[in-house]
């Protein structure tokens, strides 16, 4: 009985301790932000790894998601004789929800896990302590550029995802199923509001970018420096990112669209 209580207490305490470490870690990274301005090349290199190499995955996924939305939406909407609203449905679901959320999930799998594994391995092979020995702060030199690369890449990738997705839906809806092209675009433009939909989508993707990269770099930095520890940290990075993104998406949606 006491053993169970002790285990519960231990889990709670270590959970809080980890949360505290994550926050202190984040503050230190943020206070090291100036390094980005002094050495922008570090950021550019990470943007390449995190952003540019994700373009193909994000673009292809966006195209297929858009095509599926086109097919499914057409089936449902044609029951009501409202095929012309296909554009609205595709654009609203992509810009508001699927763009930011699916991009964040793919991003955590494609870039977040790589960040965690890379930083975890740096810690295991004592590269981070080596840097500290040379009076180079690894938080500024290694972590901050990776964090900002994720922060800047996420909204760009999400916009790309939504845009390609809408063209995927256009390809299926207008090209294959014969929805009227004018109605597709004009109804979309009439229904999608810049401030309400597009800006809120960008805000979402910014928040998800922070969450996913924060979790990824922290899990790597906090990993137990063994090969098993790094593998666990990589798993946790993806799992926690998915939970955090979906959970915060609900809160953000309730705040933005809940009226």
């Amino acid at each position: 009985m006491l053993g169970v209580l002790q285990r519960l207490g231990h889990t709670t305490l270590s959970g809080f301790a980890k949360l505290g470490r994550a926050n202190i870690f984040m503050l230190q990274v943020l206070s090291g932000s100036l390094e980005i301005l002094i050495r922008p090349r570090l950021l550019i290199q990470q943007m390449y790894v995190v952003g540019v190499l994700s373009i193909l995955l994000i673009g292809l996924s966006g195209f297929f998601v858009g095509m599926v939305l086109g097919l499914q939406g057409y089936n449902v909407l044609s029951d009501f004789g409202a095929e012309e609203s296909l554009g609205v449905m595709i654009a609203a679901s992509l810009v508001r929800e699927l763009g930011p959320v699916v991009t964040a999930l793919l991003f955590s799998g494609r870039a977040g896990s790589a960040l965690t594994a890379e930083i975890g391995l740096m810690k295991t092979t004592e590269q981070l302590s080596g840097m500290e020995m040379m009076a180079v702060d690894p938080l500024r030199r290694v972590i901050a550029p990776r964090f900002y690369a994720g922060f800047f890449s996420m909204p760009l990738l999400a916009a790309l995802f939504s845009f390609i997705g809408i063209y995927g839906g256009y390809f299926v809806g207008v090209g294959l199923l014969g929805v009227d092209e004018g109605a597709f675009w004009s109804q979309m433009q009439a229904a999608i509001d810049f401030r309400e939909d597009i800006v809120n989508g960008v805000i979402k993707s910014l928040v998800f970018g922070i969450i996913v990269t924060w979790i990824a770099v922290f899990e790597g930095y906090d990993a137990i420096p063994t090969s098993e520890g790094v593998s666990r940290a990589t798993t946790r990075s993806v799992v926690y990112s998915a939970f955090a993104v979906l959970g915060s998406d609900f809160i953000l949606t309730a705040l933005m669209f809940g009226e």
Binding site: Y48, G51, V52, A159, S162
Partner: protein
């Protein structure tokens, strides 16, 4: 590791691509292209008994062409009428001052909009003018209610005679 120049070109390409996607989303998908006109134009007022589900930013149309948007809706609590303020684009400045404003629905389940019907007066509406002749929104429940009342009357009439 990688060639620095190639990396920088790649990142530049990525950022340009992302920003272009965002820009195109704003211009092609949303209604941003109308935003520039939002603070231009002149105001007209109209009073309605019932505005149904008319909302701020609903279109104002004449002959089916969108010429402005609803900018504010308030209730006059002395006459219990809805006061609708519309902003009309400046290029449409030749609306006769005896025009009729009605609230219609686009399609069976579509959004509601204000339709202006031109009158024959030689004088034009100016900023701050009020449209005198208005026709309220059709509320479906009222129509159905009236229909049933009539049906009920007819059914009971033969029984009386």
């Amino acid at each position: 590791m990688y060639n620095t120049r190639m990396i920088e070109i790649g990142v530049g390409f990525f950022v340009a691509l992302g920003l272009a996607a965002l820009f195109l989303l704003a211009m092609k998908v949303s209604n941003l292209s109308e935003y520039g006109d939002q603070h231009k134009g002149y105001h007209l007022f109209a009073r309605f008994q019932n505005i149904g589900s008319l909302k701020v930013r609903s279109p104002v149309k004449m002959a089916g062409v969108t010429i402005g948007r609803v900018s504010r809706i308030s209730l006059d609590d002395e006459n219990y009428e809805a006061v609708v303020e519309m902003r009309i684009q400046p290029k449409y400045n030749k609306l006769p001052d005896d025009s009729i404003a009605s609230i219609y629905t686009a399609g069976l389940l579509g959004e509601q909009y204000i339709a202006l019907e031109a009158g024959g007066s030689p004088d034009f509406l100016k900023d701050g003018d009020e449209i005198e002749i208005t026709q309220s929104a059709l509320v479906l429940e009222e129509l159905i209610g009236r229909f049933f009342m009539k049906a009920g009357d007819k059914a009971s009439d033969p029984a009386d005679q």
